[in-house]
Symmetry: D2
Subunit: 339 residues, 4 copies
């Protein structure tokens, strides 16, 4: 491969836009050469914006192209696994948004293709690339906070997605908490053993009617002994609440929320500060840029991505365990759902 | 009763000192007239320090005295229930340190005596009287943060107590997390339905050998639907970590840790601030004063204390449920342990 | 003018890069059509990066071009006034980096040309476009903090510029504190009456040898009575320290420094946070984008820019007054230096 | 002297109450044996509260008593110097509230008596004993922030004192900013050379009518080169604003304001925190205790107090210089007012 990594972006929706823009302008040494979307107008408009030369409706053209070294799969979740398989068979390196699939069989088939074709697969767990989270991880790996004993993640969206999306998303555990499952593994550097979940609908009963929950707290026992708690809500009126803490034998390390601006007002009734970032794009834009850089670096150097196929698979298993735990009101071991 | 409330303090140990001092000098309208401890020297020295005139070895003299309107029970846990019963039968109002007892039958017998004699019983859940926690509670009762949906409590001691204490303490859930159980009920204004606990020994294996855990995360389902998470560790090297959050439909309210002082240093490698308060007495001294004031006010006015016998009882049941949950690795409903 | 504003950027140095990039990609409705620099290679490389089609060595070609509605003057300070005059005479709207010139006569000649040709002139006081500073200003204009009575600005660069730059910069007051002079006027919404300055060389004696200071504190009396203090240092090892406060009859409003990331580590010896932003580009990049947007909007709508020629002139006078005050060790009224 | 230091407190007003209480209960090894006030009822009530046995109307009885080793002078400012002289001549060690006197001749006469009689004199600059300020000072003396180059003090009272008090107080510079003058010397470990002051009446014109200002900013040049800025206002509606910063060649150290409690509320419109401490007694109570301890220690060990007669004198000179600077609108050197 030349020193320039040529990427084809598949999907021009919300997350496709993020990656098309980031890879085009925020990541040196990468050129987005092709963009596909079944809605061609969306693709064309995004391509114009990012200076992408070739737009196609059918992503297979990207897979066939000689001008593409790697693909970024940003299409709908139900297409991820198939495209991974096809891309791997076409010899393209792969960046894929999470989750790989909602079904384990599909995931395993996709991962087998990746392995067989010896291509790089990186899964889009953007939080691993957030500078704050990386600093917390560093505090663990450097020994600064000693042996990790607990991990506490508070993770709340500003507002629920549309019901139509909820229905096909796999539900809160596979769509939203999957990020936190992966983050807990990343921060602790350990693997989950057992999961217990409480969840219900406190935000919107309609979410319950389609079989999902909008509020959940999950406890996870990790193999080396660390205990982990994650809470999720689909609605935090004060913004996109994203905090993670690791507690260890020599200290704790944690991320704070980021506010809209840095002005404070003090009056007779007290002090006021602005709300926190309200949107994942404000909060994680630098993380998306870092993610793109790491992907390019891994493809160029052959290094294993920090969030690979295994991570994509285990996070789905953790979601399965949480769903089963909630249904059966008992702790569920990971191996119970790994089959 | 005269406008001066005359209190006899029973026990001159660590917590007895706190209450003797607070009631003597921090609470107007109260006079500590008697102090008892089996170790008379300890009692005498404390009495001299606080200007308490009468010192006795046997607390029964306090119960018999005409110069005492109320008692503050600060003796060892195993004596609480008996003294409550005796004090109630002697017509004294009662402030008692938590827990009332480790055995439900003893608690119920003590509470029956209180009810029969129509005396005031207040249980020493000091965190209810902390200004920060009260402000969080106010944010719920005022509607400022809407309907409470989650409660997250992070509560970690600076260092484990002596093993000898651990053995007789009732264990982490009845000795330490009992404060957090009560705080969750206070902040949410709701009652627990079911409890799930993970716990293990990550701090000191000796604690495990005496049958206790030193690290635990507990999930609680409350009756109105709110979900609660509590984490405890017996050792936080950075200080006495005490944070509580209520998340609601219109916002969240939470307490921050308090630091040793207010100086900050910024250098080329970043900013440094002092550790947080390391000891419960630094952190909660104003809460103990407020607690004393509220007790005096309740006795004088006949008002029901914010932390009464029912609160003392239910918090022990929550501890039982957590212990059973940990042992059987399943969620346990409160009614299972209420018998 | 069409709805697209076509801008020619003059100068491809450090600040030219900022504006070329910002106007190319961060400001909708603007196209950078030309770029000039005497160092053509610098211009070509920047143009390639930003997708600017036409590169010239001589900025006069930009002034003559039909494809340019407005210019952004990012060349060296000594050229600003001449180019403003020429651009105004060519009928181009003008964005010019601060200061307009170091000599009052040159400034007045440039402003006369702007007035005669009825073009828009906006001066690059980027801090006016910073969201935090705007929120502080809003706290004044909305009445939230009452009548402004004091303004305190702490403003310190991470490291001194090269001596070669110091020599031609006009010195600390005209090169660095000029931003703070403008910010004080912006935040208070008032005009300066008198200035008193203390300054010396505490950072680097070489700066003193070329006749400048590297550390200064300045007091300013404003016409409506508010008192203002500004401090500057050419070297803050902990980062680019940028804080401003307005104190008023009903409260105060202030900006906090922004840190490199949001992770905090607590250990036995206390808490550590990262350094603050180290560079003006990290700190003020969103302000530069906002500045570009406001410039485009002013040109399109004919609105007066928030930082115009008058602001550029008065800030230089404040610098003159500070220099004279330091030299003569006495307070200096603005009218003394306005001639 | 026995190991118990016997103190007579002179004056039972606001600050007399602080010291009587602190010395009685917060400082081990000290007993307040006598208390005097011309208003005997005030003295009796305070004595009862603190367990002080002997109450007198005339402080001369304290000076004559064999039961008194040291006096704490808490009477009105105009009596300080005379009592210091008398106490010194009576061989008593002396703690005196600031300022020693408003007239230099009186100060010098009092200090001469102290010297002649070889008694300890400590002046009540309470901020030197504040833990935060001490930590900032430590950051200087330890070299942690390198050579100090600037000192910035923001110091604002919650509300102006009664006009009657303003009239006899010596004015803002000798009554209020005198604390900041001393703090600057303490933090920098250096002596002032020249002072420049701006001041006016923005809070209450009545204060101006009695010849004082209510708002002031002062610049001070220190001998080793450090530049210092102090701002004062008699009214900060958001509380008692007390911040100090030292900026040095290797970093900066500063104190933050302290808030009423530690609860934070986040809602859709942002975050709110409580006002800062509103009163000097809340803010500096631990400093008063430390001050008492240090005084007792100095008397017992013969050590020179951290805030002695020289400090009391120089701070008044700084006030003189500021007053003269404001009147003559020019910088004033300390030696100009030292005669």
């Amino acid at each position: 491969m030349s020193s320039l990594l040529r990427v084809g972006v598949i999907g021009a929706g919300r997350i496709g836009k993020v990656h098309a823009r980031t890879l085009s302008s925020g990541v040196p040494g990468v050129e987005v050469t092709m963009l596909s979307d079944v809605v061609e107008d969306a693709a064309k408009s995004l391509a114009a914006d990012c200076g992408i030369k070739t737009v196609v409706a059918d992503y297979h053209e990207i897979l066939k192209s000689k001008d593409v070294d790697a693909v970024a799969i940003c299409s709908s979740t139900d297409t991820h696994a198939t495209i991974i398989e096809e891309a791997a068979n076409a010899g393209k390196h792969i960046f894929c948004e999470k989750p790989i699939a909602l079904e384990l069989a599909k995931i395993d088939q996709a991962l087998a293709a990746v392995e067989k074709n010896k291509v790089i697969l990186m899964v889009g767990f953007n939080r691993r690339y957030d500078l704050g989270n990386r600093k917390v991880r560093e505090a663990v790996t450097s020994g600064a906070i000693g042996t990790p004993e607990m991990c506490i993640i508070n993770s709340r969206d500003p507002a629920p997605p549309p019901l139509a999306y909820v229905k096909v998303s796999g539900g809160l555990f596979l769509d939203m908490m999957i990020h936190d499952f992966d983050l807990a593994r990343f921060l602790l550097g350990d693997e989950p053993e057992e999961v217990f979940a409480y969840g219900n609908c406190q935000v919107d009963p309609e979410i319950g009617k389609v079989g999902d929950v909008d509020t959940a707290i999950v406890s996870i026992k990790f193999k080396k002994g660390a205990l982990c708690h994650i809470d999720n809500s689909r609605r935090a009126v004060y913004g996109y609440d994203q905090r993670a803490e690791v507690f260890g034998s020599k200290g704790h390390a944690f991320t704070k929320n980021m506010h809209d601006h840095n002005a404070v007002i003090g009056r007779v009734d007290g002090y006021s500060e602005p709300p926190i970032y309200n949107f994942f794009m404000e909060r994680y834009m630098p993380a998306y840029e870092e993610e793109g850089k790491v992907f390019a670096e891994c493809v160029k150097s052959g290094k294993t991505p920090p969030s690979g196929g295994y991570d994509g698979r285990i996070s789905v298993l953790m979601g399965y365990a949480a769903i089963k735990s909630l249904k059966e009101n008992r702790p569920v071991r990971i191996e119970e759902v790994d089959k």
